[in-house]
């Protein structure tokens, strides 16, 4: 599903975010990305949906080489990947309902289907009743759940989540984890960057630790590590 070969990423300002990363994630896996702040987790995730391209090395998603990918193919790649952004990236002039619906509209789902699927999804993430609110009218956790809903609504083959529980109380956080877990059970590959020790330790999934832009640890059924 995901394969990185000798990937390095140096930002234009000279920041070395990733150094010679080799990584393989199979279809259907559930992977936690852990590591200190600034380690390069978000950068790694951004390579998957081609928000960033590597300075060196190759990135392959679903057999497609993202480095050589043409610009007009990028939208199709992104439609097969659900992204829960660390900063949500909600459309400010669209309501909750419209933000979630947008992911379906770009793939050309009919109006009627969009309506039923978005209202089901909003119910699922606990946002029923907030359909017509604008993002600025929501709490951080609510905005995050809108982002989650938009990311998973079209059953993507790959779901990448950058701290999807960062702004949530433990109970809501577990609710979101249940969602991701269920989606994973239905066949979606999930890669989740997180600082949530309790969640990582409890789930007992593959854990990849990034430190200073390098893969420092990669274990099946791992724990969060970095114990105090």
């Amino acid at each position: 599903m995901i394969q990185l070969r000798n990937v390095s990423k140096i930002y234009p300002n000279g920041a070395r975010a990733l150094v010679d990363v080799n990584l393989k994630i199979d279809k259907g896996e559930f992977v936690f990305l852990v590591g200190p702040s600034g380690a390069g987790k978000s950068t790694l995730i951004k390579l998957f949906y081609r928000d960033e391209t590597p300075t060196r090395g190759q990135v392959q998603i679903n057999g497609k080489n993202l480095v050589r990918m043409k610009e007009r193919e990028v939208p199709y790649l992104r439609r097969s990947i659900g992204v829960i952004f660390q900063d949500f990236k909600l459309l400010p002039n669209k309501t909750v309902q419209e933000n979630v619906a947008f992911a379906l509209e770009v793939i050309g789902v009919s109006r009627k289907e969009v309506r039923t699927r978005t209202s089901n999804m909003l119910e699922l993430v606990g946002l029923a009743g907030k359909e017509n609110a604008f993002p600025t009218e929501l709490s951080g956790g609510e905005q995050q759940r809108v982002c989650v809903a938009r990311a998973i609504i079209n059953n993507p083959a790959l779901l990448v989540a950058d701290e999807p529980t960062g702004n949530l109380d433990p109970e809501t956080a577990w609710g979101i984890m249940d969602l991701l877990f269920n989606i994973n059970k239905r066949g979606t590959t999930v890669v989740m960057a997180t600082h949530a020790r309790a969640i990582v330790n409890k789930m007992q999934k593959r854990v990849i630790a990034i430190e200073n832009g390098r893969v420092a640890r990669d274990e099946e059924m791992g724990g969060y590590g970095y114990d105090v």
């Binding site: 990028v74 199709y76 992204v83 909600l90 400010p92 002039n93 947008f102 992911a103 770009v106 009919s110």
Partner: protein, 296 residues
Amino acid sequence: MTFNFPRYILRETGHSMKRNPWLSIASVLTVMVSLIILGFSIFFLANATNVAQSFESQLEIAAFVKDDATADQVQTLQSRIQGMTGVSSVTIVTKEQALANFGKTMGGSQSNLVTDLGGTNPFPDKLTIKATNPQDVENLASAIQALPEIDIVRYGQGYVDKLLQFTKWLRWIGFGVVGAFTVASVVLISINVKMNVFSKRREIQIMKLVGASNGFIRWPFLIEGLTLGLLGGGLAALTVGMGYNWITMYVQSTLTFLPVVRNIVLFRQVLGGLLLAGMAMGAVGSGVSLQKFLHS
């Protein structure tokens, strides 16, 4: 039922304008004000040209025929001058007509007039020549002067030059004003459109990250730009139309000596042009500035 893209575009356009009302109003006003100024400047040019033309059309050459020429000879002379290049019309004022005209201005009766003037008609036959191009008046005059049957030629020597200088300047000022305001309104409107698109760059970026194709993002923007431009252009056309109509009626009734252009065809063309210009600049401007953000 499948996804209805045109309907999506219209909904998006509507939402966008409704949810950024101040941005929309500012855009419409920018287009409107720029095009109002442009519209009036075009009518200014039309009137400047018109005034210049009406001055120039008064320029004519008067060629007085030698006394011994017969009526036939005068006829031949007329067709000969008519045949010269640059001549638009030649009319004959016979000595009898000249005398009659003179009599009319004097208010006396004709029979007395001839006796009063010493028993003979002192007026020569005269040819009045108009040039197609007022610049040619001087050359034509000397060519006509060279004809053997012609006695003297008058064409307002010395004054023609000054008049032509004046009309030339009048035209240049007209064109200059239109040119300056065209540039100004294009710059103003395109800055406005750029700012509009720029204020939405984050939205565009998000849409791309969620998998929207460039076309999917572009169309609502184009239609919004087109609609705002159309509104601005429409309001400008309305204002210029009513304003010009009012001004020219006022001028016609008070400054009767000033020729004003009230040409319905020109009127329609200018107003239609403003409407189209608003629409085109809105749509094309949005498209061009959007392109930059789509490919970044």
